[in-house]
Structure formats: structure tokens, C-alpha cells
């Protein structure tokens, strides 16, 4: 540890202004602050600071994602085994999934962090930690069969046009991970929807007869038939889907970590769930078709609603910044997800679109919350 520090101090002058590796300053700084919390002290203002910083905040989100990652990797192998009628152990399934998932994670981080470092260097900033989480979220919400070049393109698009053009982490309007997914969704619909994309394909083998690979959402959307998977299967996540979304249990463990540490807003999570349930019950009242009539609880365990509610809607940069606004924002997401799922025939899943739409609306919600606070203050003068 001391030796590493000494080495870092030794090579540091090369990267500082005037050094021969000056143009790698941001890269060096990112590595240095990754290894060591900087020795900066408070100059003015408070003399002691809470040890929490963005790195700590982001790493906690990563920790919260671990159950979903581990389960998701296993489920990739499990679904693949089901599809091809293979007999594998738990570990083998996990291994098959991990082998497929790791390159996706590496490409996602490599491309995203690369762009971040170049941008930071250009602007003379420190590298922001925002992509820490985005880079992990993206692999969890794309189909496991995605070609890596396609993923790289989507990540580059998301980081540049979803974030850096606005000024970097903290200034972006829409969730970066969802921008990447939206890019894929509209640019390469063939790879992003349909029955075959959510289960790991083996090129030279035919699937077992009768295995459809369709997600419960797709079934409901296209055929109006109830999924064959039980509610418990869907809750635990033994269904096809993107890596992170299938297991509601794993997501809830993550949610508990986020809520306990105070990193994720429980208000947004809760209001999203309530919004979805509420909309589900309203559809129950109409009950025109089978989809409208389903128990609203199904909406929570199918598709990406819970994953979106816990890990994406709570992104503090793109959500509403007022506490009251968070209730409205979350509820609207829940309502829109169910609305898009049930009413819109083109899109089986509404989570991505609902969150992106509410990202755009968040400043408006904040505006009205702020105005109501201002009005209260003005009223005080009027009363006097």
C-alpha cells in the first residue's frame, strides 16, 4: 500500500501540467482517486465532511445490483438449457451465463469509461463516477444475444448524446442506461424484440420443440393468453427476459440495500409500485379483454417494472429533485408502464419508455413543487 502510494507519487509529475504525459492527466487522476481517497482538505466552510462521496454512492448501487447480476447470469444458462433440452448443474448454468455476460460488461465499461475519460481530459475535469452504475445497468437490460459492436455503438451514443452534450454526470436529462437501450430498441428492433432474443441462442442447434422463449409480457401482448409461468416463478425469476429484470426477489434485496443506505429514494420506488397497481386496478374495472382483467400484481413481477423502479427511476440526476415531486414522478412512471403495456399493441413492455418520458417531465414536476413553496411564502406576506 505504501509502495503503491510511493509509486503513484513518483510517476505523478509526468501527468501534471508540463509533464510529458499531460494529455493522460484525467486518466491518471481517475486511477489515482480510484486507489486512494484524495488528500484534499476542507478550505473554507465546514471543517469536517461526511465520508460519503460519489464513488461510495455508486459502489453501493453496484453492491445492490450484485444479487440481480448473479441470479441473472444463472438464469441465462438455465433458460438456455431449457431451450435446448440440456442437462446442466446449477454451477454450469451460472458459468454459461457468466461467460456470455462478462464480455458485455467489459465492452460496456470500456467504451463508456473511455469516452468519459476523453471528455474529462478535454474539459479539464476529474472523471465523474456516474458511468460506474450506468455501465453495469446497460448489460442487465439488453438481450443476452446482443452483438458486441451493437452494444458498443449504443453505449457510445448514450454517453455522448445522453450525457456529455449536456455537460456530464449531474447535468443529463435522461437516464444514460435507458438512452442506450432506447437507441438499440429503435435502431435495431430485430435484435431487441421478438421471442428468440431473450434466451441465449446456440447457433448450430435447434431449440426444443414447443419452447417459445417468449416473455410473459410478449405472450399477453400478442396473444392475450396468460403466461404459463406461475406467479412464484415470475417472482423468483425463472422466466426469459433481460439479465437483470427477471428476479423480483433479487431486485428487492437490492432495493433493501439502497433504501437502508439512503442511496436510493424509497419514495420513488414505493410510488412507482403504487402507481402500477393503481392503474392495474383501474383496468380491472373496465376489464374489456383478458389483459385488462389480470391481477395487477402480475404487472409487478413481469418484465422490467421492478428493475426500472428500483435502479432506473431512482437515478437522482434524472428524477425529480424535490421530495414531493418524487411521489408524483414515481406514480406517473407506474401508471405509464401499465398503460403502455396494456393499451399499446406495438410495445409489449413500457418501463423504458415510461421512465424516459418521466425523465423529461421531471423538471416540470419540480417546477410546480417549487412554485407551491414560493406561493406559500408570498401568501405569508399577503396575510400580514
Amino acid at each position: 500500500m505504501k509502495a503503491i502510494r510511493n509509486y503513484v507519487d513518483k510517476i505523478k509529475p509526468n501527468f501534471e501540467k508540463g509533464g510529458k504525459l499531460e494529455s493522460f492527466n484525467s486518466f491518471f487522476d481517475a486511477i489515482e482517486t480510484f486507489l486512494f481517497v484524495p488528500n484534499k482538505v476542507s478550505k473554507n466552510g465546514v471543517h469536517v465532511h461526511d465520508p460519503i462521496d460519489l464513488k461510495r454512492t455508486m459502489i453501493i448501487v453496484i453492491v445492490a445490483l450484485i444479487p440481480s447480476i448473479l441470479f441473472g447470469a444463472w438464469n441465462v444458462g438455465y433458460q438456455n438449457a431449457l431451450a435446448y433440452g440440456l442437462d446442466r448443474t446449477l454451477l454450469e448454468n451460472f458459468w454459461v451465463g457468466m461467460i456470455k455476460l462478462l464480455p458485455i460488461i467489459i465492452v460496456s465499461y470500456g467504451v463508456g469509461l473511455g469516452i468519459e475519460i476523453i471528455m474529462a481530459q478535454k474539459r479539464g475535469h476529474e472523471v465523474n463516477e456516474g458511468f460506474f452504475v450506468s455501465g453495469m445497468l446497460i448489460p442487465l437490460i439488453v438481450p443476452i444475444n446482443i452483438p458486441l459492436w451493437m452494444l458498443a455503438l449504443a453505449v457510445a451514443f448514450a454517453v455522448v448524446f445522453g450525457k456529455e452534450v449536456f455537460g456530464g454526470t449531474g447535468y443529463n436529462i435522461m437516464n444514460v442506461a435507458l438512452v442506450a437501450r432506447a437507441f438499440l430498441f429503435f435502431a435495431y428492433p430485430g435484435q431487441m424484440s421478438g421471442d428468440s432474443v431473450w434466451v441465449l441462442n446456440l447457433k448450430d442447434q435447434p431449440m426444443v420443440d414447443g419452447f417459445s422463449g417468449a416473455t410473459p409480457l410478449a405472450l399477453l401482448n400478442q396473444t392475450g393468453t396468460m403466461p404459463s409461468a406461475s406467479l412464484a416463478d415470475m417472482f423468483f425469476g425463472f422466466i426469459p427476459g433481460s439479465v437483470g429484470e427477471t428476479s423480483v426477489l433479487a431486485i428487492l434485496i437490492g432495493a433493501a440495500i439502497l433504501i437502508f443506505t439512503g442511496v436510493g429514494s424509497w419514495k420513488i420506488m414505493l410510488s412507482t409500485v403504487l402507481g402500477a397497481l393503481g392503474m392495474g386496478y383501474i383496468f380491472n374495472l373496465f376489464g374489456i379483454n383478458a389483459y385488462m382483467g389480470i391481477n395487477p400484481v402480475y404487472h409487478l413481477v413481469m418484465g422490467g417494472l421492478m428493475f426500472g423502479a428500483v435502479f432506473m427511476a431512482t437515478d437522482p440526476v434524472t428524477a425529480t429533485s424535490t421530495e414531493k415531486g418524487k411521489w408524483i414522478y414515481g406514480a406517473m412512471i407506474g401508471i405509464l408502464v401499465v398503460l403502455i403495456r396494456v393499451v399499446n399493441p406495438a410495445y409489449p413492455e413500457g418501463t423504458m419508455l415510461a421512465i424516459l418520458l418521466m425523465n423529461v417531465w421531471a423538471p416540470l414536476i419540480d417546477y410546480y413543487v417549487v412554485e407551491s413553496n414560493v406561493k406559500k411564502r408570498l401568501k405569508r406576506i399577503a396575510v400580514k
Partner: protein, 450 residues
């Protein structure tokens, strides 16, 4: 007593180094300084030059904008030096004490028999005026204004702060005289906020004052928070505030006719061997006090005031005019290996992001390390948890950064002082200098209004 106001939002930072209510004998101090920089926005006009003899209470400089506001010498002696900074700005007027403590006599008087103008004049002449501050803007009050009310916070809830309800025992008479004087200065009420959980016998017999009890974590003792809950400030209104110890000195000015800069101060913090209270004169050099009382000589941060709002001073620096506390903590200029990744059992945090939440009642040794780099504001909801006002802190800070005066006004800038944002700054994971931003926002408004 009125009903207790319960403050729910806030944070008590659990630092080691709290002093028991025990006094030690302060060493003899030879050098004193009156620092114009302690009084925000002041442009001083000097009345003395190097080598002049002064008494306790002799005016050293006055405020260029309000010439009747005088700043007086805390001790008798000789002007040793006038330290100037950039553009000849006066930083310190240093007085070498003659240890005689001969004082200017302003004449004793019964406050109740004086008129408002007479009271004002005595406070101004006697050098006590600078201790009366005003909201909005958190600056020295303007003598030609009449405040809607005057507020005193009877307790300091900031980390390791002196316990006023204990150290003021025996000063009841002076407190009452001070309150009587304040009553002459306002047409409204004089309000006193007390700690609902403390022994408030010292305040029990006070008359002409409306007492409010507050309960909850810091910043419940901040006078700004108390004003907000008792009678919030609207645009165009002015309220005045004074610290209870300074109020005692104000009372003594009327009782004894002399200026008294002696305060009960507490020397505290993790680097102090035995934290104790001292009778100490404002502006006194801390050098003698800190010799032999600190654990190490090196790598200390000496703070005049508390860890949230105090000013860094050097080992031979001087106690600031408004501070009744000297906190010594370790300087944090070290690199911590994977500090953001480790469990963090020994780290006090407002969040549950470190395993220190295991031990609820532990006290922590904290240093001045920033624990991270400056970032854009990312995490939301942090400030709100420690900001017990019906003001949106993040939006107010953002409008202050943007310099948008209209928006600052609408969001309630007149109600706040930088100190109210100290906890926001503490918890901020982006390490934003919130107090500086609010101060600059207030300064911008002062500049544009005048």
C-alpha cells in the same frame, strides 16, 4: 413557557473531545487582535495608529458605511501593529496588553429609565453594537433601522459547543439588563429559544422576553431556524439577533459602565488533552492557551468556533469576535487507500453507507479531509434531511450559484444565513461549498440593493 417546537430534521455530529462543565485557569495572554474580517462586509476606518495607547473600550476603527458603529479594544495597552493584506486591506489590529485592564467609563445606568435613543447611543459608544447582527444577510445590524423582533438562541447545538444554560449561571442580572436594553430597540418582542432538554434555570426568572422551547438535533439551536419557526422573515422585514453571552456583556455595559470582552470559552476537540472551559478575552492570542494542552504540535487544525462554521486560525492566531469555542482536530491531508470501498467502521456518516451505523452511540474523531473530490450535484434529498426549514435548500443553492436574485428572493434567501447550510455542506456527497455559495448569494443581493 410556550409549547415545545420539535425539530425533526438535522444531525448531531458525534465528535470526541467534549468538555465537561469545568473551568481551568487560562494563561496570561499578551497579544490581542481585533479583526475587521470577523465582521462580514465591513470596511473599517482606523481611528488609531501603531504605538497609540488604548484602554479597554477605546474605539479602534469604525464602519465606513455606518460611522456610528464603533469597534473597540478588548484590553488596555498599546497598538503593536496593524496588519494589512492585499490592497492595504486591514486584517488585524494587534494590541499588546499592559495587563492593567484600565477601561473607558461609559457610565452605569438603569436601562429601564433610558429612552430608545439613549440606549442605542450607549451601546454604540460602548462598543457592543457589532455583537447585534441582523437577518437578512447575517451582517452587523444597522443602527438606523428598527427590527420587527429580536431573537436570542439560548443554546448552541453545534458540535462540542459551550453549554450556555450552565456557563451563564450567575449572570442572570446582566442577562436581564441586556434584555431590557433590547426591548428598547424593537417595537416587537424579544424572543429567547431554549433547549427543551436542558436545565434552563438560568433563563427561568427572565422578564420581558418570550421564551420558546426547541427540541431536536442540530441546527435546532441556530437562531435562524428558531426565527423560522417562531416568526419567519418576509421580504422587507428585519430582525436582529444576539448571542446570550454577548447579551450578558451588553447588560454589564449598562450595569458597570464598562466594555467587557471576557467570555466563557471552551477548548475542545479530539486533539485537546483535557477539554475544558476557560475565562478568555475575545481577540486573545491562542498561543499560550494551546501550549501544553494539545496532544501533538503537528498537523492540527485549530478552529476558532465550531467545526461547522468556525474559521481556521494559526497556532499563534486570535480568537474571533463571535466565537466562544476553540476546536482542535487533526488535519486530514493524507491519502486513504481504497477509502471509498472499505466498510468504514470508524467513520461517522449521516448516511448508512458505512458500517459505522452498527455503533449508534459511538463518538468519532474526525479530521479535515474532504473524503472525495468536488463534483456536480448528483444525489438529491440529502440537504432536505438536515435542513429544518420550509425552504427548498437545493433550489435555493442553485439560484444562488446562478446569481438569480429574483429566484433567491422567491425561494426565501432572506430567512437563511450561511450557518444554516453548514450541515448541508457536511452531508454533501459532491463536496459543494454550500455556505460560501449562500454567502455570495447574500452579498450579491446587498450589492444590488444598495
Amino acid at each position: 413557557m410556550a409549547e415545545t417546537v420539535k425539530i425533526k430534521k438535522g444531525l448531531d455530529i458525534a465528535l470526541v473531545g467534549e468538555a465537561p462543565i469545568e473551568y481551568s485557569q487560562a494563561p496570561t495572554v499578551e497579544l490581542f487582535a481585533l479583526k475587521p474580517t470577523d465582521f462580514h462586509g465591513l470596511v473599517p476606518k482606523l481611528l488609531v495608529k501603531q504605538g497609540d495607547k488604548v484602554k479597554t473600550g477605546t474605539a479602534l476603527f469604525y464602519d465606513k458605511a455606518n460611522p456610528e458603529v464603533k469597534f473597540v479594544s478588548p484590553v488596555s495597552g498599546e497598538i503593536k501593529d496593524i496588519v494589512r493584506g492585499e490592497r492595504r486591506k486591514v486584517l488585524e489590529v494587534i494590541i499588546a496588553s499592559d495587563n492593567q485592564n484600565t477601561a473607558e467609563d461609559f457610565g452605569s445606568a438603569d436601562v429601564l429609565k433610558l429612552t430608545t435613543e439613549e440606549v442605542k447611543q450607549r451601546i454604540l459608544d460602548g462598543g457592543m453594537w457589532p455583537f447585534i447582527k441582523q437577518r437578512p444577510y447575517d451582517i452587523v445590524a444597522k443602527p438606523n433601522e428598527t427590527p420587527k423582533a429580536i431573537f436570542i438562541s439560548g443554546f448552541d447545538s453545534s458540535p462540542l459547543a459551550p453549554v450556555y444554560s450552565e456557563i451563564l449561571k450567575g449572570s442572570e442580572k446582566a442577562l436581564q439588563a441586556g434584555i431590557n436594553a433590547l426591548c428598547k430597540l424593537t417595537q416587537g418582542k424579544v424572543h429567547l429559544g431554549v433547549n427543551a432538554k436542558a436545565d434552563n434555570s438560568v433563563y427561568a426568572s427572565l422578564k420581558n422576553v418570550s421564551v420558546h422551547a426547541f427540541e431536536g438535533p442540530h441546527p435546532a439551536g441556530n437562531v435562524g431556524i428558531q426565527i423560522h419557526h417562531i416568526s419567519p422573515i418576509n421580504k422587507g422585514e428585519v430582525v436582529w439577533v444576539i448571542n446570550p453571552q454577548d447579551l450578558v456583556a451588553l447588560g454589564n455595559l449598562f450595569i458597570n459602565g464598562t466594555y467587557d470582552a471576557t467570555r466563557n470559552i471552551v477548548l475542545c476537540g479530539s486533539e485537546v488533552i483535557a477539554p475544558r472551559y476557560y475565562k478568555f478575552v475575545l481577540g486573545g492570542s491562542v498561543k499560550a492557551l494551546l501550549s501544553k494542552t494539545l496532544k501533538t504540535e503537528q498537523k492540527n487544525r485549530i478552529i476558532s468556533g465550531n467545526v461547522l462554521t468556525g474559521s481556521t486560525i494559526s497556532t499563534d492566531g486570535f480568537l474571533c469576535a463571535y466565537h466562544h469555542q476553540i476546536t482542535v482536530i487533526p488535519e486530514g491531508d493524507y491519502h486513504e487507500f481504497f477509502g471509498w470501498l472499505l466498510p468504514g467502521f470508524g467513520k461517522f456518516s449521516a448516511s448508512h453507507a458505512f458500517f459505522s451505523w452498527f455503533c449508534k452511540n459511538k463518538k468519532y474523531k474526525m479530521d479535515s479531509n474532504l473524503h472525495g473530490g468536488h463534483r456536480a450535484l448528483v444525489v438529491t434529498g440529502q440537504y432536505e434531511k438536515v435542513f429544518p426549514m420550509d425552504v427548498l435548500p437545493v433550489h435555493l443553492v442553485k439560484s444562488a450559484i446562478a446569481g438569480d436574485i429574483d429566484q433567491m428572493e422567491r425561494l426565501g434567501i432572506y430567512e437563511v444565513a450561511p450557518e444554516d447550510f453548514a450541515l448541508c455542506e457536511f452531508v454533501c456527497s459532491s463536496k459543494t461549498e454550500v455556505q460560501r455559495i449562500i454567502r455570495e448569494g447574500l452579498d450579491l443581493i446587498i450589492k444590488e440593493m444598495n
